[in-house]
């Protein structure tokens, strides 16, 4: 059971609103709760505008959360008051960004990009140690030490993303938020980067929050998946289960739209459409555990329907609701 594992991150009722109180108030993340266990990969999927990127950015405090609680490693980090607190927090959580072109300073050499965290946190004893650390990191991500005095423009997209990963690893974080880390890469290179991330996770015991819209890749890399839509999480569960037996209608429609590299499958594709208006019927909804570890955002009268669905899929035989 997942409950026995240690939670490294707990997000309770996270809200991230923009332009609060104004006419154009945007509730980008609206009452989102989830836990991430140590050593796992939690995939957050959703369409553009669903709030998945904002959620990641709120967790790492690139935005100041409007409301809610974020507990990291047993410590409440929802409000970081001093610079020192922020400093400490950012050493434990790092981020890998989507665009490997925009996220590396073009005027800095690779060694200085990778060592920026080392410098900020004073992790190197002297220059020789700094160089050694950088070279080790480059080797870890599959680049070689000769690359350290080059500039980002001398690298391909896949190599740049490796530099971004090396930079994130430099401060030896426990937790990495990867926001669409492979979306800008070619198919053959995507697999290289995903493999590297998996390998690093096994070796260094990292925990990932993997944010992406590519469902097949998310399913492959994640242990558990959360599906976001309009700022809310609609379904959370084990990756395989969510993918093969989605319970929420939105998840179903999302998965049915994923193109599959199989012409025979594509000829018989059945697209499920989703009508978002059903979410706006003023009913109170909360996350209900329909099958073990499999939550769906449901109103009281929908619970029975979801339970029936789960029973039909063989996910649950007789399971009491929480």
């Amino acid at each position: 059971m997942p409950d026995e594992r240690k939670k490294i991150l707990e997000v309770h009722h996270l809200k991230q609103y923009f332009n609060v109180g104004k006419k154009d108030e945007v509730r980008a993340v609206d009452d989102v709760s989830f836990d991430i266990y140590e050593g796992e990969t939690f995939g957050l999927v959703g369409e553009s505008g669903s709030g998945k990127t904002t959620a990641g950015r709120s967790i790492i405090h690139l935005y100041e959360p409007t409301d809610g609680q974020i507990i990291f490693n047993g410590k409440d980090v929802s409000k970081l008051h001093t610079k020192a607190e922020m400093h400490e927090f950012r050493r434990e959580i790092q981020m890998i960004f989507q665009d490997p072109y925009a996220s590396l300073n073009p005027r800095m050499k690779v060694k200085d990009i990778v060592a920026e965290g080392i410098d900020i946190h004073g992790l190197a004893k002297d220059d020789a140690d700094r160089t050694k650390q950088v070279e080790d990191l480059l080797e870890t991500v599959g680049l070689n030490k000769d690359h350290s005095s080059r500039y980002p423009h001398e690298f391909s997209g896949g190599q740049r993303q490796r530099i971004g990963i090396a930079r994130a690893l430099a401060v030896e974080p426990k937790f990495i938020i990867a926001d669409e880390p492979i979306s800008a890469l070619d198919v053959s290179i995507q697999a290289q980067v995903v493999n590297l991330m998996k390998e690093l996770q096994e070796k260094q015991g990292l925990t990932y929050l993997f944010i992406a819209h590519d469902l097949s890749m998310v399913k492959y890399i994640s242990d558990r998946i959360g599906v976001m839509h309009y700022g809310k999480i609609l379904e959370i569960g084990p990756a395989d289960e969510v993918y093969t037996h989605p319970l929420h209608a939105y998840t179903k429609s999302l998965i049915s739209a994923v193109p599959v590299p199989d012409p025979e499958f594509e000829r018989n594709r059945k697209q499920v459409t989703y009508d978002a208006s059903r979410e706006h019927d003023d009913k109170q909804r909360r996350m209900v555990e329909i099958a073990p570890g499999h939550f769906v955002r449901a109103s009281e009268d929908e619970v029975e329907m979801y339970t029936k669905r789960a029973q039909e899929a063989g996910l649950v035989t007789d399971f009491p609701h929480s």
Binding site: S48, I189, A191, N195, H213, T244, P259, V260, P261, D262
Partner: protein, 358 residues
């Protein structure tokens, strides 16, 4: 035209780009046909030359591009020899194009109705009123809700998916014979992508357009294409029907592409990435350009360029593995699985003898 069924015949196309670093050989001897009413998908990584190839069909190459040789026949005329003025009569009327980013391909300062009507006024000499009336019909056709109320809106008032519908409406308003779609859904979410792809298929049936579909997404190819050409380092390395490419691929690069994608059944373990990066086309490698990244490379692959070997009447692949003297190799497990499926599929011809079977 060699074959009356063809709309476009490209033969031995070679395109270089002058850069400060030297001549980039972007297209290295590319030939293909586009048949009437079909969808031909061109797949490949960035830099493989798929976009350059299609831009040359439109006469839209960058100023530093030089067509070194070859021909592009359209209506028994070579497009390469045409002047810019002549091309302006073809572009948008006979050959139209949809680009990846719907925001940058629309004019932000022009009402969408007028943008759709513009090609009609330019190419068909319609008066503004008639053209706008037809634009309205087109808006209905591409599924914009409340078209009467929205025809005078500006692009920013639409979502990404709706904007791409408008771009499609502009491209199709003159009922072009050929539609070139360059990554038309890459910037869109999967659910919107599915809608746009359905729309394109539906419109293709209605107005009988031939489509060249450029993408790197093999899932999209599987759903859209009748035939597929796989490009690598400025060359087509394999082409065939969609079933032949997905279920009976022969080139190690095609194997690598199909193998590096997680499928519904992929469980744990690591993905089979293609190692390394594509070659630098400033100085293209001798022989098979994919050899340096291929587990199946032989000595000859680094010495001599492979010709196209025939797999079936519709399926050709440029790999020495198909030479009668080549050793029999076993493709990756995923490819073997696909080939088994192919062997079991109903088709007019018996399985070809080059296929290695376990």
């Amino acid at each position: 035209m060699e074959n009356p069924e063809n709309v476009i015949e490209v033969r031995n196309l070679q395109i270089d780009f002058h850069t400060y670093a030297g001549e980039v050989k972007a297209i290295r001897d590319v030939s293909f046909d586009l048949r009437k009413g079909e969808t031909l998908a061109i797949v490949g990584e960035s830099g493989s030359g798929k976009s350059v190839t299609t831009r040359s069909l439109m006469g839209l190459l960058a100023p530093n591009a030089v067509i070194k040789g070859g021909s592009i026949m359209f209506h028994d005329e070579d497009i390469i020899k045409k002047s810019e003025k002549d091309m302006q009569h073809i572009r948008g009327k006979d050959i139209a194009m949809i680009f990846q980013d719907p925001m940058t391909s629309l004019d932000p300062t022009m009402r969408i109705g007028l943008q759709i009507a513009e090609p009609l006024m330019k190419h068909k000499g319609l008066k503004k009123k008639e053209a706008v009336a037809q634009a309205l019909e087109m808006l209905k056709l591409v599924g914009i809700t409340n078209p009467e109320g929205r025809i005078n809106d500006y692009p920013y008032q639409f979502s990404g998916g709706m904007r791409q519908r408008i771009v499609i409406a502009i491209a199709l308003v003159c009922y072009p014979e050929v539609l070139i779609a360059d990554e038309p859904t890459t910037a869109l979410d999967v659910t919107i992508q599915a809608q746009i792809l359905d729309l394109m298929k539906d419109l293709q049936n209605r107005i009988d357009t031939s489509i060249i579909f450029i993408t790197h997404d093999l899932g999209v190819v599987a759903g859209m294409a009748d035939r597929v050409a796989v490009m690598y380092a400025g060359k087509i390395v394999e082409y065939g029907t969609v079933d032949e490419i997905f279920f009976n691929p022969q080139h190690p690069y095609t194997w690598g592409l199909l193998n590096s994608m997680p499928t519904l059944d992929t469980e744990g373990g690591s993905l089979s990435a293609i190692p390394g990066t594509p070659p630098d086309l400033l100085d293209p490698p001798v022989g098979d350009a994919f050899a340096a990244r291929s587990d199946y490379a032989m000595k000859i692959d680094t010495e001599q360029e492979p010709p196209f070997f025939k797999v079936s009447d519709t399926h050709y692949a440029a790999t020495w593995l198909l030479h009668p003297d080549a050793p029999k190799v076993t493709p990756p497990a995923e490819i073997v699985r696909r080939q088994k499926k192919f062997a079991a599929m109903e088709k007019p011809e018996p399985p070809i003898k080059h296929v290695t079977k376990e």
